[in-house]
Symmetry: D2
């Protein structure tokens, strides 16, 4: 019963098969191979962006931090939510890759930035002069770190504010597929048509072994990015194995299918959490559940070996109810969901 | 009528004379000169620290950021007040010099860190694992960015918490002299005896042209610092001119005398601000006043050419009362203080 | 007929099978999984180093640059051969990761450092003072970028000089397996017993998809390395897939078997090159051949689609004979070797 | 008898007087003061460049490294002479400030780059792909580290090659005044009219305490530079004291007068060195002499307390003749020159 993260599960069989399929023979390394070309084409198709420049890396932190370095100078101010992955979970990677960039974090209910707050923050930042650095970029996460989902309209509103201030927009899409699965909209509508300049399109949490695509919808913004990737050790000599993972996900719509499965698993689990007396801290819109559950239920689950994180951190331990984060994946078995729900509800019949 | 900053005023005549005095003849460059040796000795005397390692740089940002790089790796968490100069006013210098360090800012009334909050923050940080980086150092400012002053006991309490967590303690002493002048205690009591490992001892705001001393009370902490200084362009070939400034301040107690003057000017001004109906946002303990003054008084002052900053930023403009920061220096003329007070009070007689 | 690089070929079937084998079920991410533990144990066994600290990354540039950052401060001097991969082929990664480290390159016949030259260079470097930075580390590559191999005695001689100067020793072992296959010695004898402190043990060029192990024989040298890896985006959430690759190579001696195959392929090819009138620029000791071949032979080969690099760069094009680099891999088919040799020799019968 | 460096001597009295003159009263800090404006105007006049953007910093290393960071990304290749100050004497500052830039050093007789070699090196660099980084900028020093001087024609030839390759041109002008004094040409002819995009115009070695001006002839190249300067701690709060130094030198032609004095002192000394049997390693064109002098003469000079450097480093000690570097300054007394010459020649009469 592992609900710790969607990366707790392995890779989809189609991804592994793609590795085997592309393994034959010798090809030129570093991306000059046919699989890389096909994966790029598949991504351009999905995003209706025939000119997009696409780069493959193996980790989400690499993808995000490299884009920060591409869009912000060392003296830049990078605006993001206070719970953004780039702020909380990348060990200072954006600061390191940019050469000193400063993350300006904004509060916002349930993982989402508020347009008014952003506008005000950009205004203050612009007035900073050199003391506080220079406004450089906006980064938003979709689906968010709270499992909520920005609509195209919400993304467009934030992008407009950012562009009006002269700043490009980055979307951390480690769980972009879950957002699409939730909204049912076109990928282009949630990205470049809504003003997103660069998307980190996650594969790892959605069935890849370790693969992300950095998509520059405006190829001019990608100037020099290949060097940056190389200098940080994020170019694979046998790049076909990165590209093949993304290709397997992107061909035949596997990526949305897997995200739908992960979201459906969350819905199933959420129903059980509700039955168990859980109180939701955020609406369940993708594949993550944030809820306060009765302490006794939590203790039964943990005792039975269930794995998940307290929220926002372990200091929540012992409170009643106890706030938790439960993440489902494309591969979380229904039986494990049901087993967890049974544990959570068990005390009710007594 | 300039109350914008204590660096609005020039250098003390004794500092300029010291430049002239040390100008004669050829000496070896880069610190191997007799003036540098004398300045180091004078500082060791003041701090009763015969083994301290002393480095001279020209700006406070250089001093602070170099110390951050010395005490924190790129993946380090640097704890400081949310209004700390290293956070608000150095354009990301600590992040740049450390190679990506993350400033963890804590709220705290009137510019001072709260010991309990610090302890809790360090506990959370230690539990971060690599996601959030590793606890690296504590930085405190004395006198603070709000003009308040930590006592030796308060410094010792914060240092103890930091040391208990294995972290060294940096003091940003851009206005250290003002703190000493306010407290009347021994410099050693406010620094190494209270657990401070490294002090950036400011000269610039206290009558120098541009000179700060970085003092490592434990010389082992300074390992390699000379290279770091050189690599960042902060080694002067004609270092005697940096050292001479600090020497002029440190010999004969000029540094405390100037700070007493600056503090006294603030006291004089504060009395006037009170008479003008100002409401103090923080106790006036050194050479800075934070007060909300009647809008009409503010408008009269500005119209007459008085210069000072709204607080925390220009967005306060138009409110009534209007929050302002007024900084005095060793050289602020009494007549200008009185002139400002007259302007602020003018409406009263009407 | 691809002799461009040993990374032109794919992954060994056992490596792919290992990915499938470890794919089942949910495990904790980021290295806290059983496959990572087994791979670490296997590596410790191979190197007779039960206390070694082992980290897995996906690329050789990441491995090398992270180690440079671990062993050298930003102001460090990193000694290496002028043809070292860290100098010629990593786009400044060591400089970036260290925060400004300077590579001090030394000439040396056929890719190997000369002990006397190293000693002299270290002496000069130590006398630099801060102008030139501080001596920080030695990096040697085995097998070298010229396909030659350092013996344990040669490694020990260089290590001794480095250690005598207080510097740790890094070995870039992207083709370490080929060196072992060539020498037939114990891995421990070629590394820590010969004074190597940290080895980047390559998997990618030896049958992995993309996997390298950074081995700290002295775990104290690894202090903080996990954070460094994370901050640069080189931690895989699903790390089992990195570890499984190394495990597949390390269990049952596959890694040496594959290297023996690659070396044997080079020997087979070298015989043909000799027959074709090629003149060897370096002895063929591992899986790379450096030779000057008749221009006509070269032109026939290229016309027939053979792929390999001119040496040291494309400017050699048109000279007669033309210097080339031919690299074989564990998977280079004998028939392709023979086909290339036939092309090279073809004119002889005319 | 100090001939170690032109920074061994102090500041010109006019520079010190300028500090006193600008000391009165309160002004806004960080460059918004009238002295900064006047110094900028004076420099624009000298260079016939009314639109140039001018920044003041205190050290030559800061000036050079900041310009490198401005013109080169972290993955950039920076072309310079192998004896360039940025390569030999800045402790890796360019690498640090750029975030990993690589200095590509070229040999060249007597400190000067050869146009043909540069062209070939740029060609090779352009072919590197990402392995070796991307061609980014050219840096030349005038007068050179060997005391020789590039003519406007020579600068123009190098600039043309650089510009043809798309690279901007930086001139390290720590001793630019000495070059102008030597050539007698217009500063504009030796800089922007000859293709120089950015000049680091040195004051420190020419009579300032510590002041350099970074001059962007194309202000667009300066975009964001103020932030960069701030983030590296190179903004002075009391900037008037930096600007005043440059103003003192630039008004009334003092800067060329002092350089003429320094050059004349070198000429006087060179005549003596010739009389003492010295063999010149480079023509004496500015204020530095590189010569091999009889060992006995050297030993007499050292025994009498003369200070200067062996060349290229102390390892030359003991050879006969012994290669030395002798540097004169605007303030080197004739009597000391004559005293040194007497020592060198002393043995002749015996």
């Amino acid at each position: 019963m592992n609900f710790a993260s969607d990366n707790a599960y392995g890779a989809h069989p189609a991804v592994l098969q793609a590795l085997i399929d592309c393994n034959e023979g010798a090809v030129m390394g570093y991306g000059a191979d046919p699989v890389s070309a096909r994966a790029t084409a598949a991504i351009r198709d999905i995003f209706e962006a025939p000119d997009a420049e696409v780069h493959f890396v193996a980790t989400g932190t690499a993808a995000n931090a490299l884009v920060c370095a591409q869009l912000s100078p060392g003296f830049g101010r990078i605006y993001c939510h206070e719970d953004a992955h780039i702020e909380t979970s990348e060990c200072g990677a954006p600061e390191f890759f940019t050469g000193g960039g400063k993350l300006i974090t904004l509060a916002g209910a349930m993982g989402k930035l508020n347009a008014g707050h952003l506008q005000e923050a950009l205004r203050i930042g612009a007035a900073e002069g050199w003391n506080g650095g220079r406004n450089a970029m906006l980064s938003i996460t979709n689906s968010t770190e709270w499992g909520t989902v920005y609509t195209p309209q919400e993304v467009a509103a934030l992008s407009r504010i950012s562009h009006d201030a002269g700043l490009p927009v980055h979307m951390d899409g480690a769980r972009f597929a879950n957002a699409i699965a939730s909204l049912g909209c076109r990928p282009a509508d949630l990205t470049w048509r809504a003003g997103v300049d660069v998307l980190c399109f996650g594969g790892t949490k959605n069935g890849a072994m370790g693969a992300e695509a950095v998509i520059f919808f405006d190829p001019e913004l990608a100037e020099g990015f290949a060097y940056r990737r190389k200098q940080s050790g994020h170019v694979f000599s046998k790049q076909r194995f990165l590209a093949a993972q993304m290709l397997a996900l992107c061909e035949n719509g596997l990526w949305t299918q897997l995200a739908l499965q992960a979201n459906a698993a969350a819905t199933r689990l959420a129903e059980g959490v509700a039955r168990a007396g859980g109180h939701f801290l955020a609406p369940v819109q993708s594949n993550a559940i944030f809820a306060a559950i009765p302490l006794a239920a939590h203790q039964r689950a943990v005792a039975a070996g269930a794995k998940y994180h307290l929220w926002p951190d372990a200091s929540a331990d012992g409170s009643d109810p106890v706030p938790v984060r439960l993440v489902t994946s494309w591969n979380t078995p229904d039986c494990q969901i049901d087993a967890l729900v049974d544990l959570l509800c068990q005390g009710d019949g007594a």
